[in-house]
């Protein structure tokens, strides 16, 4: 493997119902990178991230993982990836701990940070037994973000991870991302906030609709 990037995206385009949302998206991500996808509301950030996870099919262009097309290495790619979207996949009727245990059980790889430790680190120490519908908006998202502490996946895709999180939490999350890239991981995230991460790269997504207007 003569240094194929961890993930590379070439000429990606997305069409929905015959109208092109964006096209010509090119970037690549290496271990150690944090890539922030920027763009106005509706420019297609969420769409792009979901395309990277394989949930949506690009209408043109290629996504490759370690130099291979995704279809050729689906199992490995999915095992090496973690996605947290707008909807954080937290079951309201289960407690934070039960939610996290289940997330760990279904995900491909995880390190040995225990579930309880992870929840303590994200500031939910006293709330592990409450059902999640009794949590506040930010606590609810913290449950999902606790996965980051346990995951061994190298590629993290985070869609507006700082939503509802307080300042302390944002700082903690940033240090978390920093550690992850320091260990050789990579992060692609979308957010409207300014980040203070070393080695941050930005990609400005301009949807074709705006470009014309």
């Amino acid at each position: 493997m003569s240094q194929a990037p961890l993930l590379s995206v070439e000429n990606l385009a997305f069409e929905r119902d015959d109208s092109c949302l964006f096209s010509g998206v090119n970037f690549s991500v290496d271990p150690g990178d944090v890539l922030q996808i920027e763009g106005a509301n509706g420019s297609g950030k969420t769409t792009l991230l979901r395309m990277l996870t394989g949930s949506l099919q690009p209408s043109a262009g290629n996504i490759s993982y370690l130099g291979q097309a995704l279809s050729a290495c689906r199992y490995d790619y999915l095992s090496d990836m973690l996605y947290i979207g707008h909807q954080p996949a937290v079951k309201l009727n289960l407690s934070a701990e039960e939610n996290l245990r289940w997330m760990v059980a279904t995900s491909a790889q995880s390190n040995d940070v225990s579930v309880k430790d992870a929840l303590t680190q994200v500031g939910l120490a006293g709330y592990t037994d409450l059902p999640c519908y009794a949590l506040s908006a930010g606590q609810h998202r913290r449950v999902a973000l606790a996965r980051l502490l346990i995951s061994e996946a190298r590629l993290w895709y985070l869609d507006e991870p700082f939503t509802s999180i307080d300042k302390q939490g944002v700082a903690f999350l940033q240090s978390c991302l920093q550690q992850h890239v320091a260990k050789g991981g990579a992060v692609i995230l979308s957010t409207h906030q300014d980040l203070s991460l070393t080695g941050l790269r930005r990609y400005k997504l301009v949807s074709d609709v705006e470009a014309i207007a």
């Binding site: 979901r50 996870t53 394989g54 949930s55 949506l56 689906r74 199992y75 490995d76 999915l78 095992s79 990836m81 996605y83 979207g85 707008h86 909807q87 954080p88 996949a89 937290v90 079951k91 309201l92 009727n93 289960l94 039960e98 289940w102 997330m103 059980a105 279904t106 995900s107 491909a108 059902p131």
Partner: protein, 231 residues
């Protein structure tokens, strides 16, 4: 590698099964509900028809089966709906596991919390509707197999309608035709027994349907979810 895949396969099935059972346990009231629904509707029938035992006896098996089918149907659209809304379904679709396994896990949990209790409580209803003695064993056997088929087939319908927000009734529309063979052979099992005939053949057909559903439905549901949920 293969053993790794196998372990993951298992955890795909077991993790979802365990989670859905846990969710059901958290909502114990809900788990009892299909059963209570079943009993309640069975009291509606004499109220709507007639209290006479001789008349009820004739319709007993058919009615119990119709009501079991409806109770299953009613609980079917919850199978994927809340997972779709809170993003869990999206996570399920992007795990490296083989998709049919988590689905089978969820369906198993669904059957354990609806079909099985319905089956266990059916003799009581038989009593209330004056089902003849010969009918009880066939009723229980046919319901056990039949409700499993219903859950499996229903999962395909639930997968097809999941992204439509409140697809409860549309779902009924889709799966009801598929449910018809089940109810035909289910009631046949009981009525054969009541009439003193050999009731194993219709039961065997139900068994065959069950086997086919186990093999095919999770696959079909997986395909359907890939299409509908990523929209």
């Amino acid at each position: 590698m293969t053993s790794h895949v196998a372990r993951k396969m298992d955890s795909g099935f077991a993790a979802w099964l365990r989670r859905d059972l846990l969710l059901a346990y958290r909502r114990r009231g809900e788990v009892a509900s299909p059963v209570i629904f079943f009993i309640m509707v069975s009291t509606l029938i004499p109220l709507g028809l007639t209290p006479e035992a001789a008349e009820l006896e004739k319709v007993a098996a058919g009615m119990i089966w119709v009501m079991a089918l409806l109770a299953t149907l009613l609980s079917m659209d919850a199978l994927f709906a809340s997972d779709y809304q809170d993003g869990s379904l999206e996570q399920m679709l992007i795990t490296p596991q083989l998709l049919p396994l988590p689905i089978l896990g969820k369906v198993t949990a669904h059957w354990l919390t609806t079909g099985l209790p319905l089956t266990l409580v059916s003799p009581v209803l038989g009593l209330m509707m004056s089902l003849p003695n010969a009918g009880y064993v066939p009723l229980v056997c046919s319901l056990a197999l039949g409700t499993a088929c219903l859950s499996l087939v229903g999962a395909v319908g639930a997968a097809l309608t999941v992204s439509l927000r409140k697809g409860g009734l549309l779902l009924s529309l889709l799966v009801m035709p598929l449910y018809m063979p089940v109810i035909i052979f289910g009631t046949a099992t009981v009525s054969y027994a009541v009439d003193g005939l050999n009731w194993l053949p219709p039961l065997a057909i139900l068994g065959a349907m069950f086997a086919a559903s186990v093999a095919l439905c999770p696959l079909a549901a997986a395909g359907a979810l890939r299409v509908t949920a990523s929209n």
